[in-house]
Subunit: 229 residues, 2 copies
């Protein structure tokens, strides 16, 4: 009579440690970081971080690449990222009256990457603007670009053709944990984030996974997307 409950508990146990949760959350920006960087993130010694990382890698939540003496760790799969996002969405809801809601870092709320696409107020604003302009249909059920949306993104220089054999969906609804509303994920969402980085509309910060919206970005998101941020 084997159910999935023991495996569920084990998986949750891996995430339940605050140090490991910090690591996983940090790596939600899709980047890889070294073991010693992640030790700082987790607030523990390198040896403790090493032990945590080994457990996460063993269980295929993280994957590791070695470059010289350095180990770079990143989230193993988009499925893991999606799972974590789902947990964060529930985690951000705290109905206990005796506790204030989690005070979310303002930078994280304003703009961050969620694995490979935009999230926070920025992600939601861009998504909403595209919907308002009938470039995008997106709801909990799913999402699709309209013809005008394809043209719009094409004009921005985004190539929407799927890489060969890609099973990656073009538009996926992703429930934003800080806004508790949908933002655009999938290939289209990732392409927009890539573009924004290339155009220097947003900049990654050296620490954390919030991103900075540049002055040029504010203009571009307003003028090109019609997004008020």
């Amino acid at each position: 009579m084997q159910t999935i409950a023991p495996e569920l508990a084990e998986l949750a146990g891996l995430i339940a440690d605050p140090g490991r949760a910090s690591i996983l959350s940090r790596l939600m920006d899709g980047r890889a970081q070294t073991a010693s960087e992640l030790a700082v993130v987790a607030g523990v010694t390198p040896q403790t971080a090493s032990w945590h990382l080994a457990r996460l890698a063993e269980r295929a939540l993280l994957k590791v690449e070695r470059r010289g003496p350095r180990r770079f760790y990143r989230l193993a799969t988009p499925l893991v990222a999606q799972m974590l996002e789902g947990m964060m969405t529930v985690a951000a809801i705290d109905p206990r009256p005796s506790r204030p809601p989690p005070r979310i870092d303002a930078d994280m709320r304003r703009a961050r990457t969620c694995y490979d696409h935009l999230a926070g107020e920025l992600g939601v604003a861009v998504t909403d603007a595209m919907r308002r302009h009938d470039h995008l249909n997106l709801d909990q059920e799913g999402g699709e670009l309209t013809a005008s949306g394809r043209a719009f993104l094409g004009d921005l220089g985004i190539d929407l053709h799927a890489p060969a054999r890609s099973r990656r969906v073009l538009c996926r609804p992703c429930l934003d944990w800080s806004e508790q509303r949908l933002h655009l994920a999938g290939r289209a969402g990732a392409a927009i984030a890539d573009l924004a980085l290339q155009r220097d509309w947003i900049r990654r910060r050296p620490q954390g996974r919030s991103v900075e919206i540049t002055a040029a970005g504010l203009v571009a998101f307003r003028d090109s997307f019609g997004a008020r941020i």
Copy 2:
């Protein structure tokens, strides 16, 4: 510099206890159960179960209704169910060569409810059949019934009109943790499960959330849906 990581860890910690994981997994069938029933599920004394349930209810993972001396607990929201499903999907993947893959109970694998819709081989077979007959488009991106699909389900006696003010999506892709493939969720998926229960095609078991496919069900799924199970 507050991130969501502490809340994520706390939430995961609630799920990480094997007894609590068993409770949550059991309640994934959408039904409510009493505290003493859930104590048996968790394999602990009633007082320990009471303490676990209080913690889950406090954190709004479960909600409780009192009827006389009995307390009935159920999953608090579909969002919680969705989160758990996402975790189960990752939990069912164990890449460690030193460990056999989780041996999933055969009844659970064959047919079970995933909150309010069909899952396991049955759920996937019904979904695949509907896709084969062009009644349903469903992929990771999302899903929709075709015109023939609407007619098909209408002929079966399913009313697809949304209840007033329902924000419930009609078709949602749900990645089945035992099959690692998509089955149909959303209002349509739930309606099919309801119908199957009403028609006695499937029967809930007194223990657990696997469902039994009746002989009539086998015929109906084959003849009406074209699903081989």
